[in-house]
Assembly symmetry: C2
Homo-oligomer: 572 residues x 2
């Protein structure tokens, strides 16, 4: 149990190693970041053989606890130039943990043009040539080929056409319980890193029947009971997310005036109601068929915030419809049509790209006049033809929003450290602005989402503290393998997490100790960024977000830069 | 005399101010960098209204001394994200200095779509709407329109279609003595900054008959005599450059094995002889007509390294044929044809782009397979159609080599701080590798060219010291307004420069004081970069140049990074 799998793509060698003691306390993001810190030269080319791609399930992944089987992918990011952890649901985390691996570390690169599948089971791993028919194929075509070859009892993490083309919008798609390649380690270009290594897919074999055991079974039972009780009691995990999914928040963000609309030129979208969580739920219910308003993206998740969107005939079109996608590929493009967004979602999963980065890049292209606001057919063509084929135009989008802005001569580009801002405009949701600016990940709401904050989002005064607390908690959840939505539980019963950690690990840590793990991780990530050349002055929102007032509030991002610079001072 | 002209593009206001005492000792690059340091927020958007564009002639520009009327342009660079000084010949430096301006500082931005001409004379300046017929026109069409309107007795600095489109390969073209828009402040995207301000051209009126006076006329005469004697005696300024121009060095660089060939994949080009300085000279002489093997790019230059290239019928095709262009748009693209390179040169001057950045970007596109090595017709089309019209493909090139590499998925991109490396491969000309890595300007041979070094270029051991000395001397020449080729004179008779400085300024500085001015300037530029988020770890060559051996020598860049980091420690 708890071993490391090392894969050298240059030599084809795959080896199993014991877990070094110094890595024992870490899981998920803390482990990927630690391995990247220890083993990756911050000056290396992210798409060269000296970068490493690291998978690490959370510390509680593969156990019987709900919503804990997230998978972290780490590397040096080709998008930000700094350290990256991209987090996803799906089955990869559970299968890897149950196969007994704390991490898979992929180094080197296959010779150009050679593509491999990494097959992992409890005994170890092996590289096999990728079936030629899946090369260049979309994820929805490739996944079934791999299931047919390796059996249905497997989790697959794979790159699509975008990752094969080493596009910086490329993520790594993970199959869900039913085998859809629909759960994405989306951000930072991790799919481009996998593609650059010549690794088309990782297939993890298993049976889901061997949960990761705890060192202290009684303590585990007690902790799990507390945790699940809180999950059933907290309104967000018991009611809000199961019913409305992430799109449930869209109405609120729009009402606050912070929904990115037409390349972040307004915070309110006149068609927001048509793409809200309520509208989505009603449409799915009305259409019936294969649709589902609630769905677990990973085995054993009791929150079930995912969904299955049916077309007008009731046939499955896309999973899952997410707030970020409705924001960036909807409102941000002037598109208020759930069917169109569902087609984009399907296409993005099929191409294997981050819907946030893709939406932001297309928003920039629309501002440049390359396609018209609201033209869903043009977006579909852009994705399905230009990006898929890697035409010059498709590659401009594929390079991400920052690069698209440089190429197309657009100044209003919503990025931090060259990574796109997600669907909370930081001029209104100012706590998220602090997170975007200060997270070592670049703009990333999941690094510390403050939308649940009960006070005034427009008031800049306490937002550094609010973001800091959310970043620490999000970091802790990332370490343990919990979904972001377990944060509500962490807020009300942190001791249940402490109990689970200690029971799993046989330790005696306190909540403060766990927070310290998260803080240590964040500080290490920042240190990596500094060594990669990203000075403290890159911890900033784009200048125009400090000067261009956002309708309807006319607000700008006005959290003082000196406060941003001191966010981690004395934090604990 | 010695005043500052301020231009606010947002309000249209143009004012003349006295020169602040604290700026008095500085000219050229030292003044542009100081003004940028004092007045530009390092975090600003380089293409936004908070950046400033600063022209500053050298301290000796407009005097009677040969080769001293260079013009510096400074700003925050949209290419590197750091500070930028781009240096050019032509008439702008002389006219500005003789009109009595130490600097022109352009702030703000005109409303989108509005374009202006800044007209400058001894009385001050005014903004006039740009003649509609020059908008979108090439520089060869636009310059005559402006001469017709403002009179032939003027120097014009203008942006072409690339600068209007705010492409990062865009420079600012300066007219030469005969009115050709052929001398470029090429590097770092300064043309994009001018375009972003809505400034199409600056026209400086004058008569070239009022040389800038010295405070100490006798000292001036003595210094000038010494300087001109050294110029006539030094083999490089007396013989080499007048006869062969900058292409004279191509044969040497090729023989050393450091001529960038096919996107820096070899250091030797099999067709080098066909594009050498000797071949160029012979072809110009054979064709006769309007051709000229020697030509002064600015009034009063006795070195005359420029040339006029005639077509087969003897009609002027391009000026000037330069080593860097033969390297980056010749060998680097597998093109060994002077006629083709002359057409590219003409096109680049007409579009208003940096031939180095453009050649490097096209090399990357060739490596991506977008066009074939050696396909001159395809390059011409790419420039004349795609870049000129700003098609998606043209904009990929227009964004520069780093961005082109990101978009096209090419790893082997020859840039430092996102600016293209010039025609000395740093794996062989290792002193230039140190300059590329450590200059605050990004990769830029003119910041400290070590090609004249007499020892072994392949030996990494003394190259930090060699580069440091060249960077200090180049900085000093930039301050005074001298062309790089006055460096030979600086080597043998530094006191002539001291005499000229003191006579011009009425001071009593030593050579050490002057070197200190240059060092202070470089350190300030580095400090600006740090505040712009460029950490010390950006002072690096691309990783692949440390790992990929360059044929024929099989050498890599192996100057230790610790030495790079310490280059300015204790320098004087």
């Amino acid at each position: 149990m708890d071993r490391i799998l090392r894969v050298d793509m240059s030599t084809g060698q795959v080896t199993v190693e014991p877990l070094p003691d110094r890595w024992r306390p870490y899981g998920g993001r803390a482990l990927t970041s630690r391995i990247v810190w220890e083993e990756v030269d911050p000056g290396c080319d992210p798409l060269g053989p000296n970068n490493k791609l690291v998978w690490a399930p959370g510390l509680l992944s593969g156990t019987t606890v709900s919503s804990s089987s997230r998978i972290s992918v780490g590397c040096k990011s080709p998008l930000t130039g700094g350290i990256k952890e991209a987090n996803a649901g799906g089955e990869t985390g559970l299968y890897l943990a149950q196969a007994g691996y704390r991490a898979v570390i992929v180094s080197g690169a296959a010779p150009p043009g050679q593509w491999y599948v990494l097959v992992v089971d409890r005994e170890g791993g092996r590289l096999e040539p990728a079936p030629p028919e899946i090369l260049g194929a979309g994820n929805y075509a490739a996944a079934p080929v791999l299931f047919a070859r390796y059996g249905r009892s497997a989790a697959i993490a794979l790159v699509g056409p975008a990752g094969e083309q080493r596009m910086r919008i490329a993520g790594i798609a993970n199959t869900d319980k039913e085998g859809r390649p629909a759960r994405m380690n989306a951000r930072g270009g991790v799919g481009a890193v996998m593609g650059a290594k010549g690794l088309k897919a990782m297939v993890v074999l298993g049976d889901r029947k061997h949960p990761v055991p705890a060192r202290d079974p009684e303590g585990w039972q007690a902790g799990a009971r507390r945790y699940h009780r809180a999950l059933r009691e907290h309104p967000s995990t018991a009611d809000f997310y199961p019913n409305l999914g992430t799109p449930g928040v869209l109405e609120k963000v729009n009402k606050l005036g912070g929904l990115p609309t037409r390349n972040f030129s307004s915070g309110r979208f006149e068609l927001a109601e048509a793409i809200s969580g309520v509208a989505l739920r009603e449409l799915i219910l009305a259409r019936g068929g294969e649709g589902a308003t609630t769905h677990a993206c990973m085995t054993g998740c009791a929150i079930r915030c995912s969904n299955i969107f049916p077309d007008a005939q009731g046939r499955e079109l896309a999973s899952a419809m997410e707030f970020e996608t409705n924001g960036l590929l909807g409102a941000n493009l002037g598109i208020g049509d759930l069917d169109a967004i569902a087609r984009f979602t399907r296409l993005c999963n099929d191409l294997g790209v981050d819907t946030i980065e893709t939406g932001a890049a297309i928003g920039v292209a629309m501002e440049a006049g390359l396609l018209a606001w609201g033209d869903a057919a043009a977006v579909e063509r852009l994705l399905d033809v230009e990006v898929r084929r890697g035409t010059p135009l498709g590659r401009i989008i594929g390079a991400g929003a920052a690069c698209a802005g440089e190429v197309l001569g657009v100044r209003r580009v919503p990025v931090v450290k060259r990574q796109a801002i997600s669907a909370y405009d930081p001029r209104v949701i100012k706590g998220n602005g602090v997170t975007y600016a200060t997270s070592p990940m670049g703009a990333d709401h999941t690094a510390g989402n403050t939308i649940g904050y009960a006070g005034d989002h427009l008031d800049p005064r306490d937002k550094v503290a609010v973001s800091r607390e959310m970043q620490i908690k999000a970091g802790l959840l990332d370490i343990l393998g919990f979904c972001n939505f377990a944060r509500g539980i962490l807020d009300i019963d942190p001791e249940s997490f402490v109990a689970l950690y200690n029971a799993r690990m046989g330790t005696d840590l306190t909540y403060r100790d766990l927070r310290r793990l998260a803080l240590e991780m964040i500080r290490m990530e920042i240190a990596f960024n500094r060594r990669a050349g990203l000075g403290p002055e890159t911890d900033r929102l784009p200048e125009w977000m400090r000067t261009e007032p956002l309708p309807p509030h006319g607000s700008v991002f006005d959290v003082p830069e000196e406060e941003l610079d001191r966010i981690w001072e004395g934090a604990e």
